[in-house]
Amino acid sequence: MVELLEQSLSWLPGNAVILTVIIVKILVIVLPLMGAVAYLTLAERKVIGYIQVRIGPNRVGPRGLLQPIADAVKLLMKETILPSNANRFLFLLGPVLALAPALAAWAVIPFDEGWVLADVNAGLLYILAMTSMGVYGVIIAGWASNSKYAFLGALRSAAQIVSYEIAMGFAIVGVLLAGGSLNIGEIVTAQQGSFIHWFWLPLLPLFFIYFISGVAETNRAPFDVAEGESEIVAGFHVEYSAMTFSVFFLAEYANMILVAMLAALMFLGGWLSPFEGIPGLETLFSWVPGIVWLLAKCAFFCFLYLWFRATFPRYRYDQIMRLGWKVFIPITIVWLMVVGGLVVAEAGPWFD
């Protein structure tokens, strides 16, 4: 595919060919991602609907399948309202700063062996750095809106994200200890063998902490105090309308899928088949391409987000802080030592 593209562009100068190929690769990642975001919103409404014994959206298109497109068109056509005393520049910069890191992080995500935009050594570190930038969108939006509710939401969100980033970072340190690399592709290959070899087992506490911190990082229920519609209306995006509002939404859902994808890659063997190493089943399913397994695992984590939202009541703010600082961080530190011991002892079947 890539060679074919390069050949058809060979009349261009060398650097331009590389640039075009990279842009095409970016589009191949971002466009399906945007589609996934749109349909995740539909899936959310449908799943929560069925959990609450209703049908959910079912009017636009067959079984409501065109609902996300109708929503997108509606949001595009609406008027973008700029509050009169808001800081215009920062007000519009906020949504951009929320979305840009959420998309940039996808550069180092591998979808199958070698299917990656930028196969860099420090992939995990890059993802941590990019996701930590996302908080600026929220803070700037909250401050520039010149609204008390928005500002309260921004402050809550900032404190929450900074706290949970530490637990998340420690969980990722555990993964890189176990995988022996910061490159996500190499971390997946280190899990080869069978589903017992995947890192969810030796890193079980880190796995749970990673995903729960991921839920908190993306400001999703039950950690959605930054929005907290019953307390502070809608938090940081209360003053946003139309496209500016939907860019925040895009960023939130792109981040959700990113965290789900990372959980699948780091703890559930990424594109590796779950039937690997099981006689009979392995050959029966060997025709399935790796990306299907990866997307299935990612979809499972995305479903967990929706399930959480329909199940748990919102955390109280002091409880969120207690959970992050007094429960998660000590557990991760202790488990890092355990993982270090396992790696040094070459405990099988993971580290031998």
């Binding site: 420090a122 570190l125 941590l128 750095a129 930590s132 908080v135 700037i140 401050w143 980033e165 207690r322």
Partner: protein, 202 residues
Amino acid sequence: MGIDVIIFYFFAAVLVFAAGMVVTVRNPVFAALFLVLAFFTSAAIWMLLEAEFLALTLILVYVGAVMVLFLFVVMMLDINLAVLKEGFARYLPAGIVVALLLIAQLAVIVGPEQFGLDKIASPAMHGTEYSNTKELGRVLYTEYLYPFEIASAILLVAIIAAIALTLRKRRVRDLMPPEKQVAVQRKDRVRLVKMESEKKKA
């Protein structure tokens, strides 16, 4: 001129611009945001020097955490700019003298006499297989193990000291201890009362 030179000059220009804006812009929130931009661009320049670990940690620690807390504080402060700018003209001569002195000292120390290319050769470029993270880890935990450990111990002490200094015990704590909250059972909170249904009066 290679593309990396163009990238370097682009980021260097942005960095100098952002750093200048940090000290000249009036609104403290803008100053903090320009500082974020300065950190980010210097991380990009470090990336050009193949120091990807340092570059990404700079973003992770300074941009992702320190500056967030900084902004947090700056946004909550209600700074009266008029009072701050009072007496600007009066202090200007002293300020200029101090600034010139600082520039002269910097020029003496980091001028081309000490840091020219003939004194310190430009770092060798490595291949794509070179991992700066691994190299840094190897050096930190072998050659510089003791300085590294001592520095971390000092930092730890500083953290504890900072917490101890700002810790204030509240005299009245009407908070419920979390372990009690967690241990609450349904029967402690809900009491179901059985009663006959009442007849409506005709």
